[in-house]
């Protein structure tokens, strides 16, 4: 067993859980968006840890590609969420 692989994977789990907790509990919208992003980071770390095959072997490229896709999807969702939040603020301000 590769120690580094396990270490990163476990950290990924921890970060994911931290993000999930805040996403569920925090009141601020902005913070929830940050939290979901952190959660995503945790999942990405797990995926990259899975891809890692030690310093000698080339890593598995498939999870890398998946994470790249995941990052773009995450930023799209973040952008939409923030735009909605902005619109919501404007609606509040109108009242």
């Amino acid at each position: 067993m590769l120690t580094a692989q396990l270490l990163y994977a476990l950290t990924g789990c921890l970060i994911m859980a931290l993000g999930l907790r805040t996403a569920l509990l925090h009141a601020s919208l902005l913070r929830r968006v940050v939290a979901i992003n952190v959660m995503g980071t945790g999942v990405f770390m797990i995926l990259l840890a899975i891809a890692y095959r030690g310093p000698e072997l080339a890593p598995d490229p498939v999870p890398h590609a998946l994470v790249l896709t995941g990052i773009v999807v995450a930023v799209s969702a973040t952008a939409l969420a923030l735009a909605l939040a902005r619109r919501l603020n404007a609606e509040h301000a109108d009242e």
């Binding site: 509990l25 009141a27 490229p61 590609a65 990052i71």
Partner: protein, 348 residues
């Protein structure tokens, strides 16, 4: 580095990552939280490099830390002093504080349990015989993929369909943003120093993005990293007070936005009509086709991300970037009037 110091590096890095993540999540202040999150992105890029994933590291630095951070900071600027009443706060504040505390505990325990189980299962998997997974299959077919960077091969050839849909996701997001109404009014024109900096930084970023695109075929890089970098150029210009930051007028802008998905789809369907499978590039043309698709994708990604940063529709009439600073401010205020009208219209 020897294994021991490497492990020490790992532990330190991971500890700081967890610490930063926690600090960002638990910070009492939204602004601090966002800044810490951006810092976290930089450390993550380091970690991805350590895990031999330089493509992801580049993307993380450009998108994860850079653009997401920029988006969050821009949102923060408009955040009302106090969180507006209604929505989330009302939900959180409902019920007694005792109930709230209990909810917190239950959620925390659930999350801890989730992390524990996930970690345990992963440990279980890593303890077994190492799996080859798809590494072998990818390297066996790399020769006919048209590129030599295996990640690009997976992204644009083997799993090109994922990427096509991912570009559609990006398009959907930006269409959703545009449908919400006009974008931010824009920033005050920057002082001479930052303006000069922006003027020199933007071409540099454009150059870097072109390089990243080109190099993606055989080394870390590719459309996403390149697109994000290009978008960064736009963001910089925007911060310097440029209104349209080089974005083309409405019709052409739509063309740029759709270019990535459109060209990808067109290539796929043309191949289908030629009797090949959808997205089944002939090996001889694969490299060229991928480069064409990636170039279009880069433009789309950049335009999309910049529009996301602006947060809505552009003012109806573009303002030439070279206009004198004095008239520019007037132009902003006049442009704001029709925007209000637009907002009402979209409200029905």
């Amino acid at each position: 580095m020897n294994p021991v110091s490497l492990q020490l590096f790992d532990v330190l890095l991971l500890l700081s990552i967890v610490g930063l993540a926690w600090a960002s999540l638990a910070s009492p202040d939204d602004r601090r939280s966002v800044i810490l999150f951006m810092a976290l992105g930089l450390l993550l890029a380091l970690a991805w490099g350590r895990l031999l994933a330089p493509d992801v590291a580049l993307a993380e630095a450009a998108i994860g830390a850079g653009l997401s951070g920029a988006l969050l900071l821009a949102a923060l600027r408009e955040q009302p002093r106090r969180e507006a009443p209604g929505a989330t706060e009302a939900v959180a504040k409902r019920g007694s504080s005792r109930l709230q505390a209990m909810t917190q505990w239950v959620v925390t325990l659930l999350c801890a349990g989730l992390a524990g189980i996930l970690g345990w299962v992963l440990m279980h998997i890593f303890a077994g015989t190492p799996l080859d997974r798809l590494t072998q299959a990818v390297s066996a077919n790399l020769g006919v993929s048209g590129v030599s960077n295996p990640v690009t091969a997976v992204l644009l050839n083997f799993r090109g369909y994922d990427t096509l849909l991912e570009l559609a996701v990006l398009l959907t997001a930006v269409l959703g943003i545009l449908a919400l109404g006009p974008g931010r009014a824009g920033y005050q024109p920057a002082g001479p120093i930052f303006d000069a900096l922006a003027r020199s930084l933007a071409p540099l970023l454009i150059l870097v993005s072109a390089y990243l695109l080109w190099v993606g075929a055989h080394a870390p890089g590719g459309a996403f990293q390149a697109g994000a970098t290009l978008a960064a150029a736009g963001v910089v210009l925007r911060l310097a007070g440029r209104q349209r930051i080089g974005l083309p007028p409405e019709g052409a802008l739509r063309l740029v936005m759709t270019a990535g998905v459109g060209l990808f789809l067109a290539v796929g369907l043309s191949l289908l009509l030629m009797g090949r499978p959808f997205l089944g590039y002939p090996p001889a043309w694969a490299g060229a086709l991928i480069l064409v698709i990636e170039s279009a994708a880069m433009l789309s990604i950049a335009a999309t991300l910049v529009l996301a940063f602006i947060g809505g529709r552009l003012p109806a009439h573009g303002i030439p970037a070279a206009e004198p600073a004095t008239t520019r401010r007037e132009a902003i205020t006049t442009a704001a009037a029709p925007e209000r009208g637009g907002e009402e219209e979209s409200g029905c």
